[in-house]
Symmetry: C2
């Protein structure tokens, strides 16, 4: 892991871009750190870090204000990383089906999501190795948002992640419902009740499937991008409970 | 309205019992009040104030800690108030059906709940008149918990209530789903995901029916009485947003 740039944001948050092999990422830490701090990994949709930056930095500022570090990495096939021909083809099939108003078949969903999960999860784990080796970061670690299937897989396979905030999204492969049963860490699940592209019943079924003894579903009025401000505050309370 | 007793609780909360006609109630206020404070009405199931007191005083302490007053009144036919023969008969029918594991017919639910709503709601409104005439209470007013049908009716008919925290319970008359569509104030709805006696789908349908532009459903693992501590904290945040 090597840092490629560093800046102080207006509120004193320290923002560093890094590369881990060929995977770019961003780390945000408090202005000064006297003891190692917990870490929140910020998930995001596969639209590229540059495009997602405004929302990511907002979430990072909130995490840092709570006394945590926050970090994210680019997803495979997104942003400045090399195109990923097979998955791009599957994404094009998916977009075509959605635009035509056709039901999206399970095989298309699997082809779009499962390779992403399989490739991204070990990269997030490698990033975790590198981040936790920094003197200013100590854990525990939370995972927040992004592609829910990545969050589920990470919650199952990565014991250093002790709590996860997930965003109920569409296009969840059927096999992930099985993995959801094996999740046991505390979960905070956001659902936008009127999400145009989301199957509400599937989201409720997925919440039901999680094996965690502590799991909360927070459903709010509004579409996919209409998550109310206070929902972020409730999620901050969830991480404060589990990472402090 | 006349006060019948007064005591200071260990944390300085001022607790006064009162009677409004033949309806007993309890008012909790901060130790000292320099300006009129908002008010949260504390709903409860029809089990009698005395039996519900430990849970009510816990909720009241939390409200007072936020700078609010809290108040509750006895429901008709409960506690020290005169028995209510017709409703008692309907409740016996309901208990029999539940104990026998039979489906509870809509006519039994209507006979148990609708007279209670019709009689209790004007009493809560009269209590609101009296409470808001006290110099230390100024509003705005929130309503929290208890029989959800009472909360729905109050939210529809009582314009002084600006926000409601509701607890998704069982035995909701079909007609209340229609009233729910007419609710427009911000709502915070708690649902215990594994509530043995609750029909989860009916609770989700009721949440969907509410007409409010701001409504949040917070579902947590556990049975009817297993609401986690942090769910109360989220509800406190909801009232703080709307009553301050």
């Amino acid at each position: 892991m090597h840092f490629t740039s560093e800046q102080l944001l207006d509120d004193g948050v320290r923002e560093r871009e890094f590369c881990l092999g060929d995977v770019p990422g961003i780390l945000w830490t408090p202005p000064s750190v006297s003891a190692p701090v917990p870490l929140i990994l910020l998930g995001h949709p596969p639209l590229g870090l540059r495009r997602m930056y405004p929302r990511l930095v907002g979430r990072a500022r909130r995490a840092v204000a709570e006394g945590f570090a926050a970090a994210t990495i680019e997803l495979p096939g997104s942003g400045d990383r090399p195109r990923w021909t097979d998955v791009e083809q599957a994404r094009a099939d998916l977009r075509r089906a959605v635009q035509a108003g056709e039901p999206v078949g399970g095989e298309i969903i699997d082809a779009v999501v499962l390779p992403l999960v399989d490739k991204a999860v070990p990269e997030w784990q490698a990033a975790l190795d590198a981040l936790l080796s920094l003197p200013e970061i100590g854990g525990p670690v939370g995972y927040s948002g992004g592609v829910i299937s990545i969050g589920i897989r990470l919650a199952v396979v990565e014991p250093r992640i002790v709590a996860a905030g997930l965003f109920a999204g569409r296009f969840v492969p059927a096999v992930m419902f099985e993995e959801a049963r094996r999740v046991t860490i505390p979960l905070h699940v956001l659902l936008q009740w009127d999400d145009e592209g989301n199957d509400r019943q599937a989201a409720l079924d997925l919440f039901d499937a999680f094996g965690s003894e502590e799991k909360s579903l927070h459903a709010n009025v509004g579409g996919h991008t209409g998550v109310p401000q206070f929902a972020g505050e409730d999620a901050a309370g969830f991480f404060a409970r589990h990472l402090r």
